[in-house]
Symmetry: C2
Subunit: 205 residues, 2 copies
């Protein structure tokens, strides 16, 4: 498919689309031809959305999440519990946790995870900002909601050491067997932890 | 996932991406966050590619293919055989056939296929333009390279009737068992035609 298209304009559009993660040249061509068939106004609006997002979006100065204003809609919401802060890697985890509707506190987005292999050190993340937030004394609990990868565990440990001088509860999200998972196919580490951290059974009704 | 994102700008970008065929909201979010991480200039160039394509691209006035100039690079190429014209549905088939490097003639892009179900009638396609090209008398062969669907066969038949008054050879691409296909799994119609249209065996060497 790395051939000369009969139109340079089409070629450029296909190039740009195929630079997106997970989009190959065949898909890029299909998407470009789809855009060609749309009304010019729609394509204009399509294009404008990305430059507007890239140039105008900010980070919330409290929690670091992508936001249109200096303070995001979560931090600005008076009904959220300001004493509990959930630390996550990126906005994606914020969205996932918001989707569960099980959390009413605030967030702190690190903007990544400590990974010496990828050259990400603690200084590249919003860790100082987290400590600064905690030092103001309003926060009583910090929930560490990071991945259970090597990098996630390293970051957890680093944050734990940084946070432990402060008078607050440091928690981490529960690890265990997921709903719908079969015990037979659950890995040893997860199953082991889920037995160690077993909980009293409460039946409703 | 149809939730409120903390940024309207991000929300709009995700909306626009998820309107593309085959892109769901999760993928759209992943792509939008990827764009957020790119340099502003790259995002500018990304956006500009689509408006430029949509607003500036033309159709070749001879063959109807998408082109930057009034005449496409294939029609303008003096080394192409102007006596043979391959009729296809869209630019996609032009690209596929060009990829084979087995065809040195010109193309004629219909811009679709006759499909009463989808409300596409012969008048919606560049059929008159094809007849006009043929009537100039330069063309000695028209190859019909359309899909073997019901709509493709209907369009073939319609074109055959329109073209038959002219002194030219009307051909269609060979149907048969594809390279790498197993006979056992080939459908009856294809296998039947491939036996009926069998060809003398020529071995090299």
């Amino acid at each position: 498919m790395e051939q000369e298209l009969p139109s340079k304009l089409l070629h450029t559009a296909v190039d740009e689309l195929s630079r997106l993660p997970g989009i190959g040249r065949k898909t890029a061509l299909r998407l470009a031809l789809h855009l060609m068939k749309q009304p010019a106004d729609d394509v204009e609006r399509f294009s404008r959305a990305f430059t507007a997002m890239r140039n105008e979006i900010k980070r919330c100065r409290e929690c670091g999440v992508l936001s249109d204003a200096d303070r995001c809609s979560i931090c600005a919401n008076p009904r959220r519990n300001r004493a509990v802060v959930c630390v996550v890697e990126s906005i994606r985890e914020v969205l996932s946790i918001e989707n569960t509707q099980q959390f009413n506190g605030l967030y702190h987005v690190l903007g990544g995870i400590i990974s010496p292999m990828d050259g990400v050190s603690p200084n590249d993340l919003l860790i100082d900002a987290l400590i600064e937030r905690v030092s103001r004394g309003e926060i009583t609990e910090v929930i560490l909601a990071l991945s259970t990868t090597m990098e996630g565990e390293t970051t957890c440990y680093y944050l734990y050491k940084k946070l432990s001088p402060y008078p607050l509860l440091i928690t981490t999200i529960a690890r265990g067997v997921g709903f719908g998972d079969e015990l037979e196919y659950t890995d040893e580490l997860t199953l082991g932890r889920s037995i160690k951290n077993r909980q009293p059974l409460v039946m409703n009704g």
